[in-house]
């Protein structure tokens, strides 16, 4: 299965005309690696929580996580190129791409807000793949309403003692370092907590509808002592950092969904061209063609929106609303396209996990990293504020 298509070339040509040849060469090479080392394993990950470790290692070695960063081992590529890289990764295997995207959200937070020693230490360990990170924000009683979290960090001398529980944490149990948001006297504060810290424990894997290759579990922090140097940025400004980190991450989740949708679309299109009924091919039927046209348009428009939001981010402009729009559009699109792929396969779509897993994978991303409803609140809020 080829992952890098003429439509990707067109996107590079339109958004990065000056670097067309060299950027296409990068994506083509990444795609060949994914085709060889990740795609053949992807279906198996659906029944193997944690199975993606080998695929993740391949992508670390390729340098996928280095793409958007300027220094400390980064490749200084534009964010939109990272988006396209993540789209290809999502097309190859969604849980692997999601695990790496969340890992890299932490790397981004350290790169932008961390101390120089955190950049030289943890950040370089993360983008090279020497260490795996986990982003620990959600709690059992607070998901979208993250401000109401209960986890606390209490000052004890020069250290902080963290107590609380985080849930639905991707990479839990495998991560070497946890990016934890906790309340201090000054407000929400971001901490880096090493997995070996006494008091940090991880619950059993939480069974999921999709994204089954990645591990998801509860992270418990009971009297976890973290030195002051473990704070990312300034005490009390963690929530502000997390919001900034999630803006970029939302575009990436959108791009992963473009990849998921493209894979499901291509599988169903190939099937429609083979399957015969009423003495004709399924692809010759008018209602199939309507589906094909809608799926195709949906995928293209979502990719363009993700790249548009990326270009805004690259230019230094305000892009929170466009990032949210990209995520809402692309994640809901992927769920819709993957659902239509099942429909085209008919009974085989409902019973074959290699078809319906794409819908199950995509379905998570209208919830995680900002539920569609919350993102719509954000978009509408900005619109109404702007219009006075």
């Amino acid at each position: 299965m080829k992952l890098f298509h003429p439509e990707h070339r067109k996107a590079v040509e339109i958004f990065y005309e000056k670097e067309y040849e060299s950027y296409c060469a990068l994506l083509e090479s990444l795609s060949e690696t994914l085709e060889k080392d990740v795609v053949p394993l992807s279906a198996g990950f659906d029944s193997d929580a944690g199975g993606i470790a080998a695929a993740r290692k391949v992508l670390f070695e390729q340098g996928l996580c280095r793409m958007p960063f300027e220094f400390h081992g980064g490749l200084s590529l534009p964010f939109g190129m990272y988006c396209l890289g993540m789209e290809l990764a999502g097309a190859a295997d969604a849980p692997t791409a999601m695990s790496l995207a969340i890992h890299n959200t932490v790397a981004d937070g350290i790169f932008r807000f961390g101390s120089e020693s955190q950049r030289k230490g943890t950040f370089e360990d993360l983008v090279s793949g020497r260490k795996l990170a986990s982003f620990s924000l959600t709690e059992p009683s607070s998901g979208s309403d993250a401000r109401s979290m209960r986890t606390t960090a209490t000052r004890k001398g020069s250290d902080y003692v963290i107590d609380g529980t985080k849930t639905f944490i991707t990479n839990a149990g495998e991560a070497d370092v946890y990016f934890v948001l906790a309340r201090t006297e000054k407000g929400h504060t971001a901490f880096l907590v090493e997995s070996s810290t006494p008091g940090l424990s991880v619950g059993p894997d939480i069974p999921k509808l999709g994204m089954r290759g990645s591990r998801t579990a509860e992270v418990r922090l009971e009297g976890c002592r973290v030195a002051e140097e473990g704070i990312v940025g300034e005490d009390g400004r963690g929530f502000e950092y997390v919001k900034a980190m999630l803006n970029g991450s939302r575009i990436i989740m959108g791009s992963i969904c473009v990849g998921i949708a493209l894979t499901a679309y291509q599988k169903s299109l190939a099937y429609a061209k083979e399957r015969r009924l009423f003495d004709q091919k399924l692809s010759d039927m008018q209602m199939t063609r309507e589906k094909v046209a809608n799926m195709r348009s949906d995928i293209t428009s979502s990719r363009v929106m993700c790249l548009y939001a990326s270009r805004l981010k690259e230019s230094g402009a305000e892009y929170a609303s466009e990032a949210a729009q990209a995520k809402v559009l692309a994640t809901e699109m992927a769920a819709r396209v993957c659902d239509q792929a099942i429909q085209l396969f008919g009974g085989y779509g409902y019973t074959n996990s290699d078809v319906h897993r794409h819908w199950r994978d995509a379905r998570l991303l209208t919830i995680g990293e900002g539920a569609s409803e919350v993102l719509r609140m954000l978009i509408a809020g900005k619109e109404l504020a702007a219009s006075g």
């Binding site: 080829k2 060469a25 070695e61 280095r66 490749l75």
Partner: protein, 253 residues
């Protein structure tokens, strides 16, 4: 140890489309480094990694062919020689101009090529190169070992394997079993653009021995593949057994 490896920017056969009459659409077809040439590049880079020296990659082409050279540089070659040709050349002329570029860019201890290009699969450039350069040739090597002034190769033949020695310098063609080519990392691809690439025009390589085109390709058509379309009915175990028997009868397994 100075090693040269020759690669072709070949039509990507996986992406080739046919028109309604079954003719492959060669005009505007996507191209990439010939699949087997990746094995030759990998073998050259491995030899350099174990013996030291440099690896020079050469390619003759006219459109986008530097992409294959850049890929070879990303895989670990040290420098590239791009021979620009406006039109298609036959294998005799291709091997001649490559041999001239090798003479100009050398000297080389070992010249590696693949068994054949993945689009045309003539398999002639390697032996012709050896002839132009008056060097020993070992074809279809599945294992290559470099000694002191010699190269030893295990050669895959239909029903037997041979181990052969040749004095260096020599030309060796490798088969795909020789290794598993690496995929360059994104960083290596970006760094490849900083490696030296020399461009040579055909005219600058021509001497009195330059051959005229000996073979001209007039037409390329797709070969129809007739399938037997046999369906074995019955319980899975029973039909699997029938399939197994049929494959054995055909000598496939």
């Amino acid at each position: 140890m100075n090693i040269a490896v020759c690669v072709k920017h070949a039509i990507d056969e996986g992406e080739l489309r046919s028109d309604s009459s079954g003719r492959p659409q060669l005009q505007g077809a996507l191209a990439k480094m010939s699949t087997f040439d990746r094995n030759a590049v990998e073998e050259a880079v491995r030899a350099r990694e174990s013996k030291g020296g440099t690896v020079t990659v050469l390619s003759l082409g006219g459109q986008d062919w530097k992409k294959s050279l850049k890929e070879a540089l990303a895989m670990g070659c040290d420098r590239a020689i791009a021979i620009s040709s406006a039109g298609d050349l036959d294998t005799l002329a291709t091997s001649y101009y490559l041999s001239r570029a090798l003479q100009k860019g050398g000297p080389f201890d070992l010249i590696l090529v693949s068994e054949g290009a993945s689009d045309t699969y003539d398999g002639l450039v390697g032996p012709m190169l050896a002839e132009w350069l008056n060097l020993p040739f070992i074809g279809y090597a599945r294992k290559v070992e470099i000694g002191e002034g010699t190269v030893r190769a295990e050669v895959a033949l239909d029903e037997k394997a041979e181990v052969v020695d040749a004095a260096l310098p020599a030309v060796v063609s490798v088969v795909s079993e020789v290794n598993s080519p690496r995929y360059p990392t994104l960083l290596q691809i970006m760094q490849a653009s900083k490696k030296p690439m020399e461009e040579l025009a055909l005219d600058s390589l021509r001497d009195e021995r330059a051959p005229l085109a000996a073979v001209k390709v007039l037409e390329v058509t797709a070969q129809p593949v007739n399938r037997k379309r046999v369906i074995y009915e019955g319980a899975p175990e029973e039909s699997a057994q029938k399939l197994l028997d049929a494959l054995r009868k055909e000598g496939v397994i």
